[in-house]
């Protein structure tokens, strides 16, 4: 069977797996953004806190994903749980770092001006600082999703959902007729999905960035 015949034949299954892959990555990214921006907001005023948060999250990123998934099996079992925990943990670093960098990069004069016209600290944070930091946070989120697309493939090893299933199926059936087709479908599928998601991010960035800093 040629690759295109294979794709035609398995189209509905590949489509479901692609959707599961993207939905796992997107959902975990959303959770990572909520937690990551929360951490960033909590520590950005303290130099030591920022350093500790960045150091800790970048240390997490050095951990091999296969090892982390392995460590999660005895604790969380197989399937969705270890996948979600691993994806959220890996997604944190770029988001936390970019949140801190973005918030720390806000001009002090702008902050003072906002306070001067009577905004509360919370108002300054939500209406001035976070909006100015948003492009940086969004970039971090974009990097996180690209990374998670690849890590989600390994999650198929612990019975996680997505296109990684095809890759591992191809591996276990090495030598049989469709093994290579399955591995190609899984790998190329993930690359295509990653590119599509990246395009979606470009659009989101355009419509959610404040007009004043869009640079048009």
């Amino acid at each position: 069977m040629s690759f295109w015949e294979f794709v035609n034949d398995r189209w509905s299954r590949l489509l479901v797996e692609s959707l599961l892959h993207v939905s796992a990555v997107v959902q975990c990214t959303v959770v990572a953004v909520v937690i990551g921006v929360g951490i960033g907001v909590a520590v950005y005023r303290s130099p030591l806190g920022s350093a500790a948060a960045i150091a800790l999250t970048s240390a997490v990123l050095t951990i091999p994903s296969f090892a982390l998934l392995g460590l999660l099996i005895p604790v969380l079992g197989l399937g969705a749980k270890p996948t979600v925990v691993a994806l959220v943990l890996y997604g944190l670093l770029p988001i936390v770092r970019n949140t801190i960098v973005g918030l720390a990069g806000v001009d002090g004069a702008v902050r003072d001006a906002a306070r001067g016209i009577g905004m509360s600290r919370f108002g300054v944070l939500t209406r001035v600082e976070l909006r100015l930091a948003w492009p940086a946070i969004l970039t971090g989120t974009r990097i996180a999703t690209q990374m998670l697309m690849g890590i989600a493939a390994i999650a198929a090893y612990v019975r996680g959902p997505g296109l990684g299933v095809e890759i591992f199926a191809g591996l276990t059936r090495a030598g049989s007729a469709n093994a290579t087709n399955q591995a190609i479908a899984g790998t190329v599928g993930i690359v295509v999905l990653a590119l599509l998601l990246d395009g979606v991010f470009a659009v989101i960035g355009r419509y959610t960035t404040s007009r004043g800093i869009r640079g048009e």
Binding site: S50, A67, G70, I73, V101, G105, G150
Partner: protein, 251 residues
């Protein structure tokens, strides 16, 4: 962005201090726990000094061969692609490398295995090297492009040849970025090398896989923690090299 730079430096200093201690405590603790368990005969087959050392050694060999390969390919390629006569080809190579990195590591590994039919060390090393090429290539190019053209002109002006300018001005100035790229590549390589077990390449992934398939938690955890410790240790060594081996004038 000076605040951001200061913050990064603080974070780096913090890791330089804490990371090796964390690795020793983590690995020591887990090894003590694993060997303190009442191990059955299957567990003893994986959890003994010689097989742990050989798995770690295999892992290190894969990682360092990958890094050497990346160094030999990416740095010269980066140099060539920043020369004036080859600049047009740069986007093509960067594009290929970007796609390489955007693709799932396990997919590339499995595909290469299925297509080439290779097994063992080289079946792991070649795809991992392809996968980790980008950071070094990009950092080499960015580092060389970031050299002040006035310095290059000055070099040419005092009679240096293009090659001498490259060797004595451009490359030394780009070294910090090249080293940063290499550190990223090495850490990537240690991480992806855990997947080498899928193509019979051995390494610490073997312990994880064995522990998982035979449902032996101590084996699984020992393999995973050794891999984590090794990654953190290699990253720390990279940070030390970056801090103390860069050109003195740029520190």
């Amino acid at each position: 962005m000076t605040a951001a730079v200061a913050q990064r430096q603080r974070a780096d200093r913090l890791r330089l201090l804490v990371q090796p201690i964390a690795v020793v405590v983590l690995v020591g603790g887990v090894l003590a726990w694993a060997f303190g368990q009442d191990l059955d005969s299957i567990e003893r087959q994986s959890l003994n000094a010689s097989s742990l050392v050989s798995a770690t050694w295999d892992h290190l060999v894969i990682s360092f061969v990958v890094t050497a390969l990346v160094l030999v390919v990416a740095v010269p390629l980066g140099v060539v692609l920043t020369r004036r006569w080859a600049r047009r080809a740069a986007p093509v190579f960067l594009g290929i490398a970007t796609i390489g990195q955007a693709s799932p590591a396990v997919g590339i590994l499995v595909l290469f295995f299925l297509v080439s039919g290779l097994e063992g060390l080289w079946a792991a090393v070649l795809p991992i090297a392809f996968y980790t090429l980008l950071p070094v290539l990009r950092n080499t190019m960015v580092g060389l492009q970031g050299v002040d053209p006035a310095l290059v002109d000055a070099g040419r002006g005092i009679g240096m040849s293009a090659g001498t300018v490259l060797r004595r001005i451009e490359l030394p100035l780009a070294v910090p970025l090249i080293l940063a790229g290499l550190r990223t590549a090495l850490v990537h390589a240690v991480g992806v090398a855990t997947l080498a077990v899928f193509v019979n390449g051995g390494g610490l992934g073997l312990l994880i896989d064995t522990g998982y398939k035979l449902a032996r938690v101590p084996v699984l955890i020992t393999g995973a923690v050794l891999a984590v410790g090794l990654a953190l240790l290699v990253d720390w060594l990279g940070a030390v090299v970056e801090t103390y081996l860069g050109p003195k004038g740029l520190r």
